[in-house]
């Protein structure tokens, strides 16, 4: 099967799964924004998605994409490590035009993976999972308020978003290049598009995080002072 046996096939799978995950993030981040616009609206979305069949199908599909992306990431990284040979360069320097993120996709991926685990424990386990088990899910907005106000959650989430930004700035244009959507004129353009999409996604997540951190800490303090 060329999707596994050939290098371009493997990269094809990597780029399709990566691009779908990025699309999901765009969707997820848009929903999060609702949490600072209207708390009721956000809880309505939570209820609407909850544990309905379409949300479950979506979750399963997403889990499948993530698992394939991560498995392929390991396979690719191992093959590539071997391809460098046993002996390594004593002196090596990064050529200009080579992005730092492109050399560290696996490391960034690990940080993202750790973030995903934390995030699933924080939210998914208390919302969709309990609902699947037939119990009452937690209140979405209240859970956000509580979680993001804690500095020991705030800081890892911040790191997570930074890693995600780096991963996506390279990932998105790399996926387009892998799919063949690039030429001499479009290469600088897709790099620019990649930066824009990565920034939009991460900024949307960040706004919600910072909003609830500030609201949960500073406001409580200043309100108390007044």
């Amino acid at each position: 099967m060329w999707l596994f046996n050939s290098s371009v096939g493997r990269k094809f799978v990597m780029s399709i799964t990566g691009a779908c995950l990025a699309l999901f993030l765009l969707f997820h981040a848009t929903m999060n924004l609702v949490a600072i616009i209207s708390e009721d609206g956000y809880n309505m979305i939570c209820e609407f998605l909850g544990a309905n069949w379409y949300a479950l199908v979506g979750t399963l599909g997403l889990a499948f994409l993530a698992v394939v992306h991560i498995l392929y990431a390991f396979v690719l990284s191992i093959i590539n490590y071997r391809a460098r040979g046993k002996e390594r360069y004593a002196v090596s320097s990064r050529a200009n035009n080579v992005e730092w993120s492109s050399m560290n996709m696996l490391v960034l991926g690990f940080i993202i993976l750790a973030g995903i685990v934390l995030h699933l424990c924080n939210f998914w386990a208390k919302m969709q999972l309990v609902e699947i088990l037939g119990q009452e899910p937690a209140n979405g907005v209240e859970l956000i308020k509580y979680t993001f106000a804690q500095w020991y959650f705030f800081v890892p989430y911040l790191l997570w978003f930074v890693a995600l930004w780096y991963h996506l700035t390279h990932g998105i244009w790399s996926a387009m290049q892998t799919l063949g959507w690039s030429n001499n004129i479009w290469l600088p353009r897709i790099k620019c598009i990649s930066n824009i999409i990565a920034t939009i996604i991460v900024l949307m997540f960040l706004v919600v995080l910072v909003y609830y951190f500030v609201a949960g800490n500073c406001c409580a303090a200043t309100c108390a002072a007044i």
Binding site: W2, N5, S6, S7, V8, G9, R10, K11, F12, L76, I79, N80, R82, A83, R84, G85, K86, E87, R88, Y89, A90, V91, S92, S93, R94, A95, N96, N97, V98, E99, S102, M103, M105, H170, W173, S174, Q177, T178, L179, G180, W181, S182, N183, N184, W186, L187
Partner: protein, 251 residues
């Protein structure tokens, strides 16, 4: 005015493919900044021979940047710190007095060291033999302008045809991938009407050979294009991907 510099060389020495290699340090005085890097190595070898020591083995042939025989990973860059030149075109004026210069062979699983700085690059020849050509019946010579080709395509094919098969792309790649080379060789033919006929089978055969020989998977870091002495563009890899994916979907 002839300016000269004194340098220290750290050169990789390895007796044979299986032997364990190590760095050897040599001091060279009064090297003309007008000399090329390979001429400097010639001076080193003369010095070594006069001391009854084994000279350093390195690849070279044309010494004018067209054959692709010279290699060398100099101070962390294939073909040295200059851009768009081969090692044979690199001048000693790029280095300063008292500098320590580290010289290593290409390091890639598919390019095993033969001796010292010389590596076996036959893997690239094998990829070419797998399909990097156009099959023709050798009959009468056709008229040069019988098939019209747009200037844009002709230029782009020419940019890709400038690849000299030196191997710097795989040597520079953190994934040990030969994608830029294969992309250049696929592109130079895929862009022209004569090459289009066999485009699908060519790309599958050449890429299959590349994978089989143990080169890595491209992750678009772009070190290859940045270090390529002939400035083959990164977009060639996108064309290779496009050609390959389309060919597979047609199957």
């Amino acid at each position: 005015m002839d300016k000269t510099i004194n340098i220290t060389l750290k050169v990789w020495r390895q007796a044979g493919p299986k032997a364990k290699g190590h760095f050897e340090t040599y001091k060279l005085n009064n090297i003309s900044t007008d000399s090329s890097f390979l001429e400097m190595l010639d001076v080193l070898n003369e010095q070594l021979i006069s001391e009854k020591k084994e000279p350093v083995v390195f690849d070279h042939d044309c010494r004018e940047g067209i054959c692709g025989m010279c290699s060398l990973y100099i101070n962390g860059h294939p073909h040295g710190p200059d851009s768009a030149v081969t090692t044979c075109q690199l001048h000693m004026r790029r280095f300063h007095d008292g500098e320590t210069i580290t010289v290593e062979p290409w390091r890639s699983n598919a390019f095993p060291v033969i001796k010292d700085l010389m590596v076996d690059r036959r893997a690239y020849d094998k990829i070419m033999q797998a399909g990097g050509f156009v099959s023709v019946n050798t009959g009468g010579v056709p008229d040069a302008n019988a098939i019209p080709i747009s200037k844009k395509n002709a230029d782009e094919a020419m940019d890709n045809a400038s690849c000299i098969g030196c191997g710097a792309c795989a040597a520079a790649c953190k994934n040990g991938s030969a994608m830029l080379f294969v992309a250049a060789k696929v592109s130079q033919l895929a862009l022209l009407p004569q090459g289009k006929v066999e485009a699908a089978s060519r790309v599958k055969a050449m890429l299959g050979k590349m994978d089989e020989l143990g080169f890595g998977n491209c992750t678009n870091t772009g070190a290859c294009a940045a270090e390529c002495p002939k400035c083959v563009p990164l977009s060639a890899i996108a064309r290779l991907n496009r050609e390959f994916i389309c060919a597979k979907f047609k199957d």
